[in-house]
Protein backbone atom coordinates (compact mmCIF):
# COMPACT_ATOMS: atom_id res chain seq x y z
CA UNK A 1 0.00 0.00 0.00
CA UNK A 2 1.47 3.32 -0.93
CA UNK A 3 1.57 6.73 0.63
CA UNK A 4 -0.75 8.29 -1.97
CA UNK A 5 -3.63 6.22 -0.66
CA UNK A 6 -2.89 7.05 2.95
CA UNK A 7 -2.63 10.86 2.62
CA UNK A 8 -6.32 11.45 1.72
CA UNK A 9 -7.29 9.31 4.73
CA UNK A 10 -5.12 11.35 7.06
CA UNK A 11 -6.70 14.56 5.75
CA UNK A 12 -10.12 13.00 6.26
CA UNK A 13 -9.31 12.10 9.87
CA UNK A 14 -7.97 15.65 10.39
CA UNK A 15 -11.31 17.17 9.35
CA UNK A 16 -13.17 14.80 11.66
CA UNK A 17 -11.02 15.83 14.62
CA UNK A 18 -11.57 19.48 13.83
CA UNK A 19 -15.35 18.97 14.02
CA UNK A 20 -14.93 17.25 17.38
CA UNK A 21 -13.14 20.28 18.82
CA UNK A 22 -15.63 22.70 17.29
CA UNK A 23 -18.50 20.77 18.89
CA UNK A 24 -16.83 20.71 22.29
CA UNK A 25 -16.62 24.53 22.12
CA UNK A 26 -20.35 24.62 21.39
CA UNK A 27 -20.87 22.34 24.36
CA UNK A 28 -19.18 24.81 26.69
CA UNK A 29 -21.23 27.78 25.54
CA UNK A 30 -24.58 25.99 25.40
CA UNK A 31 -27.45 27.08 27.57
CA UNK A 32 -29.94 24.24 27.17
CA UNK A 33 -28.47 21.96 29.86
CA UNK A 34 -25.54 19.59 29.46
CA UNK A 35 -27.49 16.35 28.95
CA UNK A 36 -29.68 17.65 26.16
CA UNK A 37 -26.66 19.22 24.51
CA UNK A 38 -24.32 16.24 24.87
CA UNK A 39 -26.74 13.46 23.96
CA UNK A 40 -29.08 15.27 21.59
CA UNK A 41 -27.11 18.19 20.16
CA UNK A 42 -29.50 20.63 21.85
CA UNK A 43 -32.35 19.52 19.50
CA UNK A 44 -30.96 21.88 16.93
CA UNK A 45 -30.19 19.72 13.94
CA UNK A 46 -30.99 21.27 10.57
CA UNK A 47 -32.37 19.35 7.61
CA UNK A 48 -29.10 18.54 5.88
CA UNK A 49 -27.26 17.30 8.96
CA UNK A 50 -30.32 15.34 10.12
CA UNK A 51 -30.68 13.59 6.77
CA UNK A 52 -27.00 12.77 6.55
CA UNK A 53 -26.71 11.49 10.10
CA UNK A 54 -29.68 9.18 9.50
CA UNK A 55 -28.25 7.85 6.26
CA UNK A 56 -24.72 7.51 7.65
CA UNK A 57 -25.75 5.89 10.91
CA UNK A 58 -27.82 3.43 9.03
CA UNK A 59 -25.35 2.74 6.21
CA UNK A 60 -22.63 0.69 7.86
CA UNK A 61 -19.87 -1.68 6.90
CA UNK A 62 -22.45 -3.98 5.37
CA UNK A 63 -23.66 -1.40 2.86
CA UNK A 64 -20.14 -0.55 1.78
CA UNK A 65 -18.22 -3.81 1.84
CA UNK A 66 -20.50 -6.77 2.49
CA UNK A 67 -23.46 -5.65 0.33
CA UNK A 68 -21.50 -4.82 -2.83
CA UNK A 69 -19.48 -8.01 -2.29
CA UNK A 70 -22.70 -10.02 -2.29
CA UNK A 71 -23.92 -8.17 -5.38
CA UNK A 72 -20.64 -9.18 -7.04
CA UNK A 73 -21.46 -12.82 -6.33
CA UNK A 74 -25.24 -12.88 -6.78
CA UNK A 75 -25.86 -10.26 -9.44
CA UNK A 76 -28.79 -7.90 -9.94
CA UNK A 77 -31.08 -9.79 -7.57
CA UNK A 78 -29.02 -8.44 -4.69
CA UNK A 79 -29.14 -4.88 -6.05
CA UNK A 80 -32.93 -5.22 -6.14
CA UNK A 81 -32.83 -6.33 -2.51
CA UNK A 82 -30.55 -3.45 -1.51
CA UNK A 83 -32.93 -0.92 -3.05
CA UNK A 84 -35.55 -1.81 -0.44
CA UNK A 85 -33.57 0.52 1.81
CA UNK A 86 -34.77 3.64 -0.03
CA UNK A 87 -37.95 3.41 2.05
CA UNK A 88 -36.03 4.17 5.25
CA UNK A 89 -35.24 7.62 3.85
CA UNK A 90 -38.83 8.79 4.23
CA UNK A 91 -40.53 6.17 6.38
CA UNK A 92 -38.78 6.74 9.71
CA UNK A 93 -39.34 10.49 9.62
CA UNK A 94 -42.92 10.31 8.35
CA UNK A 95 -44.00 7.67 10.86
CA UNK A 96 -42.29 8.92 14.00
CA UNK A 97 -42.42 12.41 12.58
CA UNK A 98 -44.11 15.29 14.26
CA UNK A 99 -45.90 13.46 17.02
CA UNK A 100 -42.70 11.93 18.35
CA UNK A 101 -40.91 15.28 18.20
CA UNK A 102 -43.74 17.03 20.07
CA UNK A 103 -44.08 14.35 22.74
CA UNK A 104 -40.31 14.02 23.20
CA UNK A 105 -40.16 17.74 23.99
CA UNK A 106 -43.20 17.60 26.25
CA UNK A 107 -41.76 14.66 28.18
CA UNK A 108 -38.34 16.28 28.16
CA UNK A 109 -37.01 13.02 26.72
CA UNK A 110 -33.32 12.78 25.84
CA UNK A 111 -33.30 9.11 24.88
CA UNK A 112 -35.80 6.75 23.30
CA UNK A 113 -36.13 5.12 26.71
CA UNK A 114 -37.07 8.42 28.34
CA UNK A 115 -39.98 8.46 25.95
CA UNK A 116 -40.98 4.89 26.82
CA UNK A 117 -40.64 5.72 30.52
CA UNK A 118 -43.21 8.49 30.46
CA UNK A 119 -45.49 6.82 27.95
CA UNK A 120 -45.73 3.53 29.86
CA UNK A 121 -44.90 4.76 33.33
CA UNK A 122 -43.15 1.52 34.21
CA UNK A 123 -39.76 0.61 35.63
CA UNK A 124 -39.90 -2.83 34.06
CA UNK A 125 -40.28 -1.36 30.58
CA UNK A 126 -37.35 0.99 31.14
CA UNK A 127 -35.01 -1.66 32.47
CA UNK A 128 -35.96 -4.24 29.87
CA UNK A 129 -35.51 -1.73 27.07
CA UNK A 130 -32.24 -0.39 28.46
CA UNK A 131 -30.75 -3.83 28.99
CA UNK A 132 -31.65 -5.16 25.56
CA UNK A 133 -30.42 -1.97 23.95
CA UNK A 134 -27.11 -1.95 25.82
CA UNK A 135 -26.40 -5.63 25.15
CA UNK A 136 -27.36 -5.72 21.48
CA UNK A 137 -25.89 -2.39 20.49
CA UNK A 138 -22.72 -3.11 22.41
CA UNK A 139 -22.18 -6.26 20.35
CA UNK A 140 -23.10 -4.49 17.13
CA UNK A 141 -20.58 -1.80 17.99
CA UNK A 142 -17.79 -4.30 18.61
CA UNK A 143 -18.49 -5.99 15.28
CA UNK A 144 -18.31 -2.65 13.45
CA UNK A 145 -15.16 -1.77 15.34
CA UNK A 146 -13.54 -5.01 14.11
CA UNK A 147 -14.64 -4.08 10.59
CA UNK A 148 -13.00 -0.65 10.91
CA UNK A 149 -9.75 -2.18 12.12
CA UNK A 150 -9.73 -4.75 9.33
CA UNK A 151 -10.39 -2.09 6.70
CA UNK A 152 -7.49 0.10 7.84
CA UNK A 153 -5.35 -3.02 8.06
CA UNK A 154 -6.13 -4.01 4.46
CA UNK A 155 -5.67 -0.48 3.11
CA UNK A 156 -2.44 0.43 4.84
CA UNK A 157 -0.80 -2.93 5.46
CA UNK A 158 -0.43 -2.13 9.18
CA UNK A 159 -0.89 -4.84 11.77
CA UNK A 160 -4.51 -5.37 12.91
CA UNK A 161 -3.77 -4.21 16.47
CA UNK A 162 -2.19 -0.96 15.27
CA UNK A 163 -4.97 -0.38 12.76
CA UNK A 164 -7.63 -0.98 15.40
CA UNK A 165 -5.85 1.37 17.79
CA UNK A 166 -5.82 4.18 15.22
CA UNK A 167 -9.49 3.60 14.47
CA UNK A 168 -10.47 3.49 18.14
CA UNK A 169 -8.57 6.63 19.11
CA UNK A 170 -9.97 8.59 16.16
CA UNK A 171 -13.56 7.74 17.00
CA UNK A 172 -13.18 8.10 20.75
CA UNK A 173 -11.59 11.53 20.65
CA UNK A 174 -14.34 13.27 18.75
CA UNK A 175 -17.23 11.41 20.31
CA UNK A 176 -16.09 11.92 23.89
CA UNK A 177 -15.31 15.61 23.61
CA UNK A 178 -18.02 16.60 21.16
CA UNK A 179 -21.02 14.41 22.01
CA UNK A 180 -24.04 13.99 19.76
CA UNK A 181 -23.44 17.20 17.84
CA UNK A 182 -19.95 16.01 16.86
CA UNK A 183 -21.42 12.65 15.88
CA UNK A 184 -24.12 14.25 13.72
CA UNK A 185 -21.87 16.79 12.02
CA UNK A 186 -19.08 14.29 11.34
CA UNK A 187 -21.79 11.97 10.00
CA UNK A 188 -22.72 14.74 7.56
CA UNK A 189 -19.12 15.00 6.37
CA UNK A 190 -18.84 11.22 6.22
CA UNK A 191 -22.11 11.04 4.28
CA UNK A 192 -20.73 13.59 1.82
CA UNK A 193 -17.60 11.48 1.41
CA UNK A 194 -19.79 8.45 0.70
CA UNK A 195 -21.85 10.23 -1.97
CA UNK A 196 -18.83 11.62 -3.81
CA UNK A 197 -16.75 8.47 -3.35
CA UNK A 198 -19.38 6.08 -4.69
CA UNK A 199 -20.16 8.33 -7.66
CA UNK A 200 -16.50 8.57 -8.72
CA UNK A 201 -16.01 4.85 -8.36
CA UNK A 202 -19.20 3.96 -10.25
CA UNK A 203 -18.21 6.15 -13.19
CA UNK A 204 -14.69 4.72 -13.22
CA UNK A 205 -16.00 1.16 -13.12
CA UNK A 206 -18.44 1.77 -15.98
CA UNK A 207 -15.64 3.27 -18.09
CA UNK A 208 -13.28 0.41 -17.25
CA UNK A 209 -15.96 -2.11 -18.23
CA UNK A 210 -16.57 -0.41 -21.60
CA UNK A 211 -20.06 0.98 -20.82
CA UNK A 212 -23.17 -0.54 -19.29
CA UNK A 213 -24.37 -2.52 -22.39
CA UNK A 214 -20.92 -4.02 -22.73
CA UNK A 215 -20.78 -5.04 -19.05
CA UNK A 216 -24.23 -6.59 -19.41
CA UNK A 217 -23.03 -8.68 -22.37
CA UNK A 218 -20.09 -9.92 -20.29
CA UNK A 219 -22.40 -10.86 -17.43
CA UNK A 220 -24.83 -12.63 -19.77
CA UNK A 221 -21.95 -14.54 -21.32
CA UNK A 222 -20.71 -15.64 -17.92
CA UNK A 223 -24.02 -16.58 -16.30
CA UNK A 224 -27.39 -15.24 -17.54
CA UNK A 225 -28.88 -15.64 -14.04
CA UNK A 226 -26.73 -12.70 -12.89
CA UNK A 227 -29.08 -10.28 -14.67
CA UNK A 228 -32.30 -11.85 -13.34
CA UNK A 229 -33.92 -10.94 -10.00
CA UNK A 230 -33.31 -14.48 -8.74
CA UNK A 231 -29.58 -14.59 -7.96
CA UNK A 232 -26.66 -16.40 -9.57
CA UNK A 233 -28.00 -19.83 -8.64
CA UNK A 234 -31.66 -18.91 -8.91
CA UNK A 235 -32.12 -19.23 -5.16
CA UNK A 236 -33.28 -15.69 -4.26
CA UNK A 237 -37.04 -16.10 -4.03
CA UNK A 238 -39.45 -13.19 -4.40
CA UNK A 239 -40.73 -13.82 -0.86
CA UNK A 240 -37.24 -13.74 0.65
CA UNK A 241 -36.18 -10.57 -1.16
CA UNK A 242 -39.49 -8.89 -0.31
CA UNK A 243 -39.08 -9.69 3.38
CA UNK A 244 -36.14 -7.28 3.41
CA UNK A 245 -38.77 -4.55 3.19
CA UNK A 246 -39.27 -5.28 6.86
CA UNK A 247 -35.66 -5.91 7.91
CA UNK A 248 -33.95 -2.98 6.21
CA UNK A 249 -37.00 -0.93 5.25
CA UNK A 250 -39.98 -0.21 7.46
CA UNK A 251 -38.66 -2.12 10.49
CA UNK A 252 -35.86 0.42 10.86
CA UNK A 253 -38.41 2.62 12.63
CA UNK A 254 -37.82 0.40 15.67
CA UNK A 255 -34.06 0.91 15.85
CA UNK A 256 -33.15 3.14 18.80
CA UNK A 257 -30.29 4.81 16.91
CA UNK A 258 -32.79 5.96 14.29
CA UNK A 259 -35.56 6.87 16.72
CA UNK A 260 -33.28 9.12 18.75
CA UNK A 261 -32.55 11.12 15.62
CA UNK A 262 -36.25 11.71 15.17
CA UNK A 263 -36.24 13.75 18.38
CA UNK A 264 -33.14 15.77 17.60
CA UNK A 265 -34.31 18.15 14.91
CA UNK A 266 -34.99 21.80 15.28
CA UNK A 267 -38.34 22.32 13.57
CA UNK A 268 -40.67 20.96 10.89
CA UNK A 269 -38.72 22.70 8.16
CA UNK A 270 -35.60 20.69 9.07
CA UNK A 271 -37.70 17.55 9.09
CA UNK A 272 -39.18 18.19 5.64
CA UNK A 273 -35.77 18.94 4.17
CA UNK A 274 -34.32 15.83 5.80
CA UNK A 275 -37.08 13.72 4.23
CA UNK A 276 -36.10 14.84 0.76
CA UNK A 277 -32.33 14.74 1.22
CA UNK A 278 -32.42 11.46 3.16
CA UNK A 279 -34.48 9.65 0.54
CA UNK A 280 -32.36 10.85 -2.36
CA UNK A 281 -29.02 10.22 -0.66
CA UNK A 282 -29.95 6.74 0.61
CA UNK A 283 -31.18 5.66 -2.81
CA UNK A 284 -28.21 7.19 -4.58
CA UNK A 285 -25.59 5.58 -2.33
CA UNK A 286 -27.25 2.16 -2.26
CA UNK A 287 -27.79 2.07 -6.03
CA UNK A 288 -24.22 3.20 -6.76
CA UNK A 289 -22.51 0.93 -4.27
CA UNK A 290 -24.31 -2.23 -5.32
CA UNK A 291 -24.00 -1.49 -9.03
CA UNK A 292 -20.26 -1.09 -8.47
CA UNK A 293 -20.26 -4.53 -6.88
CA UNK A 294 -21.94 -6.25 -9.83
CA UNK A 295 -20.13 -4.19 -12.50
CA UNK A 296 -16.79 -5.12 -10.93
CA UNK A 297 -17.34 -8.73 -11.90
CA UNK A 298 -16.21 -8.63 -15.55
CA UNK A 299 -13.37 -6.22 -14.69
CA UNK A 300 -12.01 -8.20 -11.81
CA UNK A 301 -13.09 -11.83 -12.06
CA UNK A 302 -12.44 -14.43 -9.42
CA UNK A 303 -12.34 -12.39 -6.20
CA UNK A 304 -12.58 -14.92 -3.37
CA UNK A 305 -13.36 -12.80 -0.30
CA UNK A 306 -16.47 -10.77 -1.13
CA UNK A 307 -15.69 -7.96 1.33
CA UNK A 308 -12.53 -7.06 -0.58
CA UNK A 309 -14.26 -6.41 -3.92
CA UNK A 310 -14.66 -2.66 -3.35
CA UNK A 311 -11.07 -1.94 -2.20
CA UNK A 312 -9.62 -4.13 -4.95
CA UNK A 313 -11.68 -2.64 -7.76
CA UNK A 314 -11.00 0.92 -6.54
CA UNK A 315 -7.26 0.30 -6.62
CA UNK A 316 -7.54 -1.27 -10.06
CA UNK A 317 -9.60 1.38 -11.88
CA UNK A 318 -8.51 4.61 -10.14
CA UNK A 319 -5.20 6.42 -9.70
CA UNK A 320 -3.83 5.79 -6.20
CA UNK A 321 -4.63 9.22 -4.73
CA UNK A 322 -8.22 9.07 -5.99
CA UNK A 323 -8.61 5.53 -4.68
CA UNK A 324 -7.53 6.91 -1.31
CA UNK A 325 -10.36 9.45 -1.36
CA UNK A 326 -12.89 6.88 -2.53
CA UNK A 327 -11.81 4.32 0.06
CA UNK A 328 -12.32 6.87 2.79
CA UNK A 329 -16.03 6.22 2.08
CA UNK A 330 -16.32 2.76 3.64
CA UNK A 331 -14.16 3.96 6.51
CA UNK A 332 -16.55 6.90 6.91
CA UNK A 333 -19.50 4.51 6.83
CA UNK A 334 -18.11 2.40 9.63
CA UNK A 335 -17.06 5.37 11.74
CA UNK A 336 -20.42 7.07 11.39
CA UNK A 337 -22.23 3.94 12.56
CA UNK A 338 -19.87 3.28 15.44
CA UNK A 339 -19.96 6.84 16.75
CA UNK A 340 -23.76 6.86 16.88
CA UNK A 341 -23.92 3.55 18.70
CA UNK A 342 -21.26 4.70 21.17
CA UNK A 343 -23.08 7.89 22.12
CA UNK A 344 -26.38 6.01 22.29
CA UNK A 345 -25.16 3.27 24.61
CA UNK A 346 -23.44 5.89 26.71
CA UNK A 347 -26.65 7.94 26.95
CA UNK A 348 -28.55 4.85 27.95
CA UNK A 349 -26.17 4.08 30.80
CA UNK A 350 -25.89 7.66 32.04
CA UNK A 351 -29.47 8.82 31.58
CA UNK A 352 -31.65 5.72 31.60
CA UNK A 353 -29.89 3.81 34.33
CA UNK A 354 -27.69 6.11 36.40
CA UNK A 355 -29.80 9.27 36.60
CA UNK A 356 -33.15 7.50 36.56
CA UNK A 357 -32.46 4.95 39.26
CA UNK A 358 -29.20 5.60 41.01
CA UNK A 359 -28.81 9.32 41.43
CA UNK A 360 -31.83 11.33 40.28
CA UNK A 361 -30.49 14.66 41.57
CA UNK A 362 -26.88 14.42 40.44
CA UNK A 363 -25.29 17.82 39.95
CA UNK A 364 -24.50 19.12 36.49
CA UNK A 365 -20.82 18.62 37.20
CA UNK A 366 -21.23 14.97 38.18
CA UNK A 367 -23.36 14.30 35.14
CA UNK A 368 -20.73 15.87 32.95
CA UNK A 369 -17.96 13.79 34.46
CA UNK A 370 -20.09 10.65 34.23
CA UNK A 371 -20.90 11.28 30.57
CA UNK A 372 -17.30 11.80 29.51
CA UNK A 373 -16.17 8.94 31.74
CA UNK A 374 -18.75 6.40 30.60
CA UNK A 375 -18.19 7.19 26.93
CA UNK A 376 -14.42 6.81 27.30
CA UNK A 377 -14.75 3.64 29.35
CA UNK A 378 -17.19 2.08 26.87
CA UNK A 379 -14.90 2.88 23.98
CA UNK A 380 -11.94 1.34 25.78
CA UNK A 381 -13.84 -1.85 26.61
CA UNK A 382 -14.99 -2.17 23.01
CA UNK A 383 -11.40 -1.70 21.87
CA UNK A 384 -10.15 -4.46 24.16
CA UNK A 385 -12.94 -6.80 23.08
CA UNK A 386 -12.33 -6.05 19.41
CA UNK A 387 -8.70 -7.14 19.77
CA UNK A 388 -9.95 -10.66 20.16
CA UNK A 389 -13.74 -10.74 19.87
CA UNK A 390 -15.34 -13.33 22.20
CA UNK A 391 -17.76 -15.78 20.57
CA UNK A 392 -20.63 -14.54 22.69
CA UNK A 393 -20.39 -11.05 21.16
CA UNK A 394 -20.29 -12.38 17.63
CA UNK A 395 -23.31 -14.47 18.51
CA UNK A 396 -25.25 -11.53 19.98
CA UNK A 397 -24.41 -9.36 17.00
CA UNK A 398 -26.43 -11.72 14.80
CA UNK A 399 -29.57 -10.50 16.57
CA UNK A 400 -28.61 -6.87 17.00
CA UNK A 401 -30.48 -5.53 14.02
CA UNK A 402 -33.54 -7.73 13.59
CA UNK A 403 -33.84 -8.48 17.32
CA UNK A 404 -33.97 -4.81 18.26
CA UNK A 405 -36.51 -4.13 15.54
CA UNK A 406 -38.75 -6.94 16.76
CA UNK A 407 -38.41 -5.70 20.34
CA UNK A 408 -38.94 -1.97 19.85
CA UNK A 409 -41.09 -1.43 16.79
CA UNK A 410 -44.51 -1.84 18.43
CA UNK A 411 -43.78 -0.26 21.82
CA UNK A 412 -42.57 2.80 19.89
CA UNK A 413 -45.02 3.00 16.99
CA UNK A 414 -48.17 1.85 18.77
CA UNK A 415 -47.08 3.72 21.88
CA UNK A 416 -47.30 6.83 19.72
CA UNK A 417 -50.51 6.12 17.84
CA UNK A 418 -52.65 3.72 19.83
CA UNK A 419 -54.20 5.06 23.02
CA UNK A 420 -54.90 1.62 24.46
CA UNK A 421 -51.29 0.45 24.35
CA UNK A 422 -50.06 -0.08 27.92
CA UNK A 423 -47.04 -1.34 29.81
CA UNK A 424 -48.19 -4.96 29.81
CA UNK A 425 -48.43 -4.89 26.06
CA UNK A 426 -45.00 -3.26 25.78
CA UNK A 427 -43.31 -5.79 28.06
CA UNK A 428 -44.97 -8.76 26.36
CA UNK A 429 -44.06 -7.35 22.96
CA UNK A 430 -40.38 -6.89 23.82
CA UNK A 431 -40.07 -10.37 25.32
CA UNK A 432 -41.92 -12.00 22.45
CA UNK A 433 -39.89 -10.12 19.86
CA UNK A 434 -36.47 -11.01 21.25
CA UNK A 435 -37.18 -14.58 22.29
CA UNK A 436 -39.01 -15.56 19.12
CA UNK A 437 -36.25 -13.93 17.07
CA UNK A 438 -33.53 -15.97 18.73
CA UNK A 439 -35.57 -19.18 18.61
CA UNK A 440 -36.48 -18.72 14.96
CA UNK A 441 -32.88 -17.95 14.14
CA UNK A 442 -31.88 -21.44 15.26
CA UNK A 443 -34.84 -23.03 13.54
CA UNK A 444 -34.00 -21.33 10.24
CA UNK A 445 -30.37 -22.34 10.55
CA UNK A 446 -31.24 -26.00 10.82
CA UNK A 447 -34.30 -26.33 8.63
CA UNK A 448 -34.12 -23.45 6.15
CA UNK A 449 -36.17 -20.26 6.36
CA UNK A 450 -39.67 -20.73 7.74
CA UNK A 451 -42.19 -19.66 5.03
CA UNK A 452 -39.16 -18.76 2.87
CA UNK A 453 -38.81 -15.31 4.43
CA UNK A 454 -36.10 -13.62 6.49
CA UNK A 455 -36.00 -14.37 10.24
CA UNK A 456 -37.26 -10.91 11.16
CA UNK A 457 -40.76 -11.25 9.66
CA UNK A 458 -42.45 -13.71 12.01
CA UNK A 459 -41.15 -12.17 15.29
CA UNK A 460 -42.36 -8.72 14.17
CA UNK A 461 -45.85 -10.16 13.58
CA UNK A 462 -45.83 -12.14 16.85
CA UNK A 463 -44.73 -9.12 18.86
CA UNK A 464 -47.58 -7.12 17.32
CA UNK A 465 -50.09 -9.73 18.52
CA UNK A 466 -48.47 -9.78 21.95
CA UNK A 467 -48.65 -6.01 22.22
CA UNK A 468 -52.30 -5.78 21.24
CA UNK A 469 -53.44 -8.82 23.22
CA UNK A 470 -51.75 -7.92 26.50
CA UNK A 471 -52.74 -4.25 26.25
CA UNK A 472 -56.39 -5.20 25.89
CA UNK A 473 -56.43 -8.11 28.33
CA UNK A 474 -54.58 -6.68 31.32
CA UNK A 475 -55.87 -3.46 32.86
CA UNK A 476 -57.12 -1.94 29.64
CA UNK A 477 -56.84 1.83 29.94
CA UNK A 478 -57.01 4.72 27.54
CA UNK A 479 -53.88 6.84 27.50
CA UNK A 480 -54.42 10.54 27.00
CA UNK A 481 -51.61 12.11 24.97
Amino acid sequence: MNIQVIIPMIIFLGIIFFIGFWSSKKLETSTGGFLQEYFLGGRELGGFVLAMTMVATYGSASSFLGGPGTAYTMGFGWVLLAMTQVVTGYFVLLILGKKFAILARRYNAITLIDFLKVRYNSTAVVLLAAISMIIFLFSAMTAQWVGGGRLIESLTGMKYTTALFIFAVSVLVYVVIGGFRAVAVTDAVQGGVMVVGTLILLIAVIIAGGGVPNIMQDLLAENPKLVTPYGNEGNLSAAYVSSFWILVGVGVVGLPQMAVRAMSYKNTRSMHRALVIGTIVTGFIMLNMHLIGIFARPILPGVEVADTVIPLVALKVLPAWLAGIVLAAPLAAIMSTVDSLLILVSSSIVKDVYINYMKPNASEKTVKRMSFGVTTLLGSIVFLLALNPPDLLIFLNLFAFGGLEAAFIWPVVLGLYWSYGNKYGAIASMFTGIISYIALHFYNQSYGNLFGVHTVVVPVILSLFAYVAFSLLIKKTKYVF
Binding site: V86, R105, P229
Partner: protein
Protein backbone atom coordinates in the same frame (compact mmCIF):
# COMPACT_ATOMS: atom_id res chain seq x y z
CA UNK B 1 -57.14 16.34 20.78
CA UNK B 2 -54.17 18.57 20.11
CA UNK B 3 -54.75 19.79 16.51
CA UNK B 4 -51.08 19.17 15.77
CA UNK B 5 -51.64 15.46 16.34
CA UNK B 6 -54.31 15.43 13.64
CA UNK B 7 -51.69 16.68 11.21
CA UNK B 8 -49.17 14.16 12.54
CA UNK B 9 -51.60 11.25 12.16
CA UNK B 10 -52.45 12.27 8.62
CA UNK B 11 -48.78 12.48 7.69
CA UNK B 12 -47.98 9.10 9.25
CA UNK B 13 -50.76 7.60 7.10
CA UNK B 14 -49.25 9.28 4.05
CA UNK B 15 -45.97 7.56 4.97
CA UNK B 16 -47.66 4.16 5.13
CA UNK B 17 -49.49 4.81 1.86
CA UNK B 18 -46.32 5.85 0.07
CA UNK B 19 -44.49 2.75 1.33
CA UNK B 20 -47.31 0.49 0.07
CA UNK B 21 -47.37 2.09 -3.39
CA UNK B 22 -43.56 2.04 -3.48
CA UNK B 23 -43.55 -1.67 -2.64
CA UNK B 24 -46.13 -2.50 -5.32
CA UNK B 25 -44.18 -0.59 -7.97
CA UNK B 26 -40.88 -2.22 -6.93
CA UNK B 27 -42.36 -5.71 -6.76
CA UNK B 28 -44.57 -5.42 -9.86
CA UNK B 29 -41.84 -4.38 -12.26
CA UNK B 30 -39.09 -6.55 -10.77
CA UNK B 31 -41.01 -9.80 -10.86
CA UNK B 32 -43.52 -8.87 -13.57
CA UNK B 33 -40.83 -8.17 -16.18
CA UNK B 34 -38.01 -10.15 -14.57
CA UNK B 35 -39.70 -13.56 -14.45
CA UNK B 36 -39.60 -13.97 -18.23
CA UNK B 37 -36.81 -16.15 -19.68
CA UNK B 38 -33.55 -14.19 -19.90
CA UNK B 39 -33.50 -14.46 -23.71
CA UNK B 40 -36.66 -12.34 -23.88
CA UNK B 41 -35.30 -9.52 -21.72
CA UNK B 42 -35.21 -6.05 -23.19
CA UNK B 43 -32.63 -3.48 -22.15
CA UNK B 44 -32.89 0.23 -21.45
CA UNK B 45 -29.67 2.26 -21.25
CA UNK B 46 -27.95 -1.09 -20.93
CA UNK B 47 -29.94 -2.22 -17.88
CA UNK B 48 -32.44 -5.09 -17.98
CA UNK B 49 -35.86 -3.46 -18.23
CA UNK B 50 -37.18 -5.03 -15.00
CA UNK B 51 -34.32 -3.46 -13.05
CA UNK B 52 -34.53 -0.15 -14.87
CA UNK B 53 -38.22 0.36 -14.06
CA UNK B 54 -38.26 -1.22 -10.62
CA UNK B 55 -35.13 0.28 -9.09
CA UNK B 56 -34.03 3.28 -11.17
CA UNK B 57 -37.37 4.77 -12.30
CA UNK B 58 -38.96 3.65 -9.03
CA UNK B 59 -36.33 5.49 -7.01
CA UNK B 60 -36.69 8.66 -9.11
CA UNK B 61 -40.50 8.63 -8.76
CA UNK B 62 -40.26 8.16 -4.98
CA UNK B 63 -37.78 11.03 -4.76
CA UNK B 64 -40.12 13.28 -6.78
CA UNK B 65 -43.10 12.27 -4.61
CA UNK B 66 -41.19 13.08 -1.45
CA UNK B 67 -40.22 16.50 -2.85
CA UNK B 68 -43.87 17.21 -3.66
CA UNK B 69 -44.93 16.05 -0.19
CA UNK B 70 -42.36 18.24 1.52
CA UNK B 71 -43.18 21.29 -0.58
CA UNK B 72 -46.97 21.18 -0.76
CA UNK B 73 -48.55 18.58 1.49
CA UNK B 74 -46.72 18.38 4.81
CA UNK B 75 -47.63 21.14 7.24
CA UNK B 76 -45.43 23.22 9.49
CA UNK B 77 -46.26 23.01 13.18
CA UNK B 78 -44.52 24.15 16.34
CA UNK B 79 -42.88 21.47 18.45
CA UNK B 80 -43.15 23.42 21.69
CA UNK B 81 -46.24 23.18 23.86
CA UNK B 82 -48.00 26.52 24.00
CA UNK B 83 -47.35 28.57 27.07
CA UNK B 84 -44.47 26.36 28.08
CA UNK B 85 -41.70 28.59 26.95
CA UNK B 86 -41.73 32.25 26.23
Amino acid sequence: MDPRFKIAHREALIGVGLAVVHFLWWFGFAYGLGSRPVEEYTYILGFPSWFFYSCIVGFILVAVTVIILAKFILKDVSFEDEGDEV
